[in-house]
Amino acid sequence: MALLSFITRRLLQLIPTLAFILVVIFLLVHLLPGDPASAILGDRARDADVARINAQLGLDKPLPVQFLIFVKNIAAGDFGDSIHLKVSVASLVADRLPVTLMLTAMAALIALVLAVPLAFVAATHRGRFSDNAIRGSFQVGLSMPVFYVGLILLTVFGAQLRWFPVGGFGDTFGEQLYHLFLPALTLALSLSAILMRNLRAAIIGVVDAEYVDFARAKGLRSRLIMTRHVLRNALISTVNLFGLQVGTLLGGAVITETVFAIPGAGRLMIESIYGRDYPVVQGLTLALAVVVSLTFLLTDIVQAWLDPRVAR
């Protein structure tokens, strides 16, 4: 029940958060230099054309008036149409955001599978060869730019071995999982390196801390100590970091989406910002804010569960 009220409270807090984000993003995108017409017309932008297009879009009105119209439409659930793509923002977001969610979820899963066991191995073999080998190889993964890793994976597993398609996105769910494996692996490499390093340090810290000695003294079996104390306590900061990193990935997997030709939200966002497609930037930011907030809510719940001392 406590959990339920906690979740309710957090969902209620979402409303002022989203309102704040909406105001900031509205102001900032409208204050960016340039407008949708000159963004797309470039050299061919003639004053008369730009003025006519801006008037059609209602961009010639004073900013406060535009903001009021925007708020009124949002309240009615209307996020408008994309200026350049001429389709509704809602349908664009519904098309593109799930792709990014899938990609991020897969990357997160792969990263956990790689990072957690290897962090244990490294921590329990501190200073030995296996520890150094694990840390060294994760460091290489961390230091390679995403596009570089992506192209190498595409060349080897796509073009040469033909195990995976060279980029793109399938039609059925199965096909999509298949298409998303290499990009998810690409994202997972640096994510897992970050998690592995954090978890390794955390395990070492917990093992060294007094309370493990107490538990030991009380005569608990090693395995129990492992799961009850070491794993739980070590995972607290890792879960935290995991949530932050996944939150960043949701909005920022642009390069991966570009290299692997995945029609995700990151690419839509970057194209819309460059095109000054205000309605899309606003709608997508709002949708991302909901997803990110929910991700953090989830990590907070996991964290509370891991650490009963943090009473809610």
Binding site: G34, A159, G167, F169, F260
Partner: protein
């Protein structure tokens, strides 16, 4: 020895290829990798190359451009005649032409389409049809275009995407109050007049075109075009991925190959690295206003501009940026543009002359200036970095300012810049489009440079009504002379369209205006 074998092999392959070219094969779907997705497939209301360059596959025009992009050949119209006074054009429509839904293409559709295209309230391309006063049907299969004044470019304008023919009834039946709203709805499931029809479009991913069963043109085998069952565009924004996907055989063609990889792909097995002639030019545009940001502007001095031109080693830039794919510009317009004049680089590299000109202009010790480049554009950053080094030799300190496209456009529309990198591709087989933007100051102040020549402005206005071809050529020769010697640009290079195709693909064409033409493309299935 190895080379001998290789060239013998190459000769054999070539022979094989030319024999295969005789036996056209029908059917199959061509997968083509594009760098960016289309935005809006309306011939009149679109505003970008990503739409323009594929629109001719969906909508046919009355007249078609020839393969070299300069001439005219029959399209939906079989015959055309400009009246002696130059004030009207009579066109005869082809018999039995149909839209992709099987309905007849009537003179009423043509009248409606051209009027919509010429309406100054619609889109940004109506200036190409500025001379159109009225369009009227003329019997069952004729159309007459009435002009406000003689227009030497009217026939070329009828080949341009915006004068494509659309079905009036189906368009007007689309939901929506305004033309723009109807266009949105119609563009979702367009009924067209071109060789292909839009079947599906997953934005940001794939676009499927299928054969239009009602298309009029016949292939070499006497049966209707197109040969292909369909074309599928796959959006592959990353250059390297696009190439890999071609190499792995998952797609049959890939556009916009980076220049750096052209030589490598020429050697690659199973790939035809095509360099289609284009009208694309790249240059630097200078702000020539006497004061910029309240300070005196050295670039307002024509001698300084000439000095910068002489000190820019274009051949080196062509080597560094285009990896030898480009060629020097001999005028502000591309050499593939009709009425172009000029031979060799406009300003051949001459450091001594540049230093002398700087001295004459009173800038012996140079000055500091800046250039706006598109953030992330390797070509522009590469060019600017090379210029930075080259101009340091005449004491000019060049600062690079990387900004995104919209910011850059805003800055030069405000006149708030020193220099910027520019590029241009013609949309019409005539020099008038580039000239109206680059030279004719009332339009956009000569690409927002603030440059102005009364003589060039007057010549341009004359040439827009000059139907004597020879006189018009003379006018254009003089405009180019003025602009190339005192204008606000540093012409850098012309580049072709680099397209890589599987060796199985035949008959694909990208004309100098950029249009991708798939109507006579076929795939060798062996």
């Amino acid at each position: 020895m190895k080379n001998v074998i290789r060239s013998a092999l190459a000769a054999a392959l070539l022979l094989g290829a030319s024999q295969a070219a005789l036996a056209i094969e029908r059917g199959g779907i061509l997968h083509y990798g594009r760098y960016a997705d289309s935005l809006f497939l309306d011939p009149v209301l679109n505003d970008a190359n990503v739409d323009i360059w594929i629109l001719s596959n969906l909508y046919d025009t009355l007249i078609l451009p020839t393969d070299d992009g300069k001439g005219l050949k029959p399209g939906l119209a079989t015959k055309w005649k400009v009246a002696d006074d130059g004030l009207s054009v009579d066109l005869t429509l082809r018999d039995g032409i149909e839209f992709s839904d099987g309905s007849k293409i009537t003179p009423a559709d043509v009248v409606w389409s051209l009027k919509r295209a010429a309406d100054p309230k619609n889109g940004i391309w109506n200036f190409l049809l500025e001379s159109v006063k009225d369009v009227v049907a003329n019997g069952d299969n004729g159309v007459t275009i009435k002009l406000k004044h003689p227009d030497p470019t009217i026939l070329a304008a009828l080949t341009v995407f915006n004068s494509a023919i659309m079905p009036e009834k189906q368009f007007e039946a689309a939901p929506g109050k305004t033309d723009a709203d109807k266009a949105k709805a119609f563009a979702e499931h367009p009924v067209g007049s071109g060789p292909f029809v839009l079947k599906s479009w997953q934005r940001g991913s794939t676009m499927e075109l299928v054969k239009n069963e009602h298309y009029w043109a016949k292939g070499e085998d006497g049966k209707p075009l197109p040969y292909l069952d369909g074309v599928t565009f796959e959006l592959l924004p990353d250059d390297a991925t696009r190439i890999l996907k071609l190499q792995s055989g998952e797609i049959d063609g890939a556009e916009l190959i980076p220049y750096a990889r052209v030589a490598e792909l020429k050697q690659a097995d199973g790939i035809d690295m095509e360099l289609f002639p284009s009208t694309r030019v790249a240059d630097i545009i200078m702000n020539v206003r006497p004061k910029v940001g309240g300070k005196d502007n050295p670039l307002s001095n024509p001698k300084v501009r000439q000095a910068l031109n002489y000190a820019a080693n274009k051949q080196a830039i062509i080597g560094i940026v285009t990896h030898g794919v480009g060629t020097p510009m001999s005028s502000y317009m591309s050499s593939a543009t009709p009425l172009h004049v000029g031979k060799g680089a406009v300003y051949p590299y001459d450091l001594a002359k540049a230093k002398e000109l700087m001295k004459e202009a009173g800038f012996e010790n140079g000055f500091s200036t800046s250039i706006l480049v598109l953030a992330g554009s390797q070509d522009e950053i590469g060019t600017a970095t090379a210029l930075q080094q080259m101009w340091s030799q005449i004491g000019v300190k060049l600062e690079l300012q990387q900004v995104d496209n919209a910011t850059r456009t805003q800055k030069y529309r405000d006149g708030d810049f020193d220099m910027r990198a520019g590029a241009w591709t013609d949309d019409i087989a005539d020099p008038n489009e580039i000239t109206s933007y680059y030279v004719y100051s009332p339009n956009i102040q000569a690409v927002h440079s603030g440059w102005k020549s009364d003589e060039a402005d007057k010549l341009f206005e004359q040439s827009q009504r000059e139907i004597d071809h020879k006189k018009r050529a003379e006018e254009y020769a003089r405009i180019q002379e003025i602009y190339n010697s005192s204008g606000p640009t540093i012409p850098l290079y012309e580049t072709p369209y680099p397209v890589a195709l599987s060796k199985k693909v035949h008959g694909f064409l990208q004309i100098p205006l950029g249009n991708n033409i798939f109507r006579a493309t076929w795939i060798d299935k062996k």
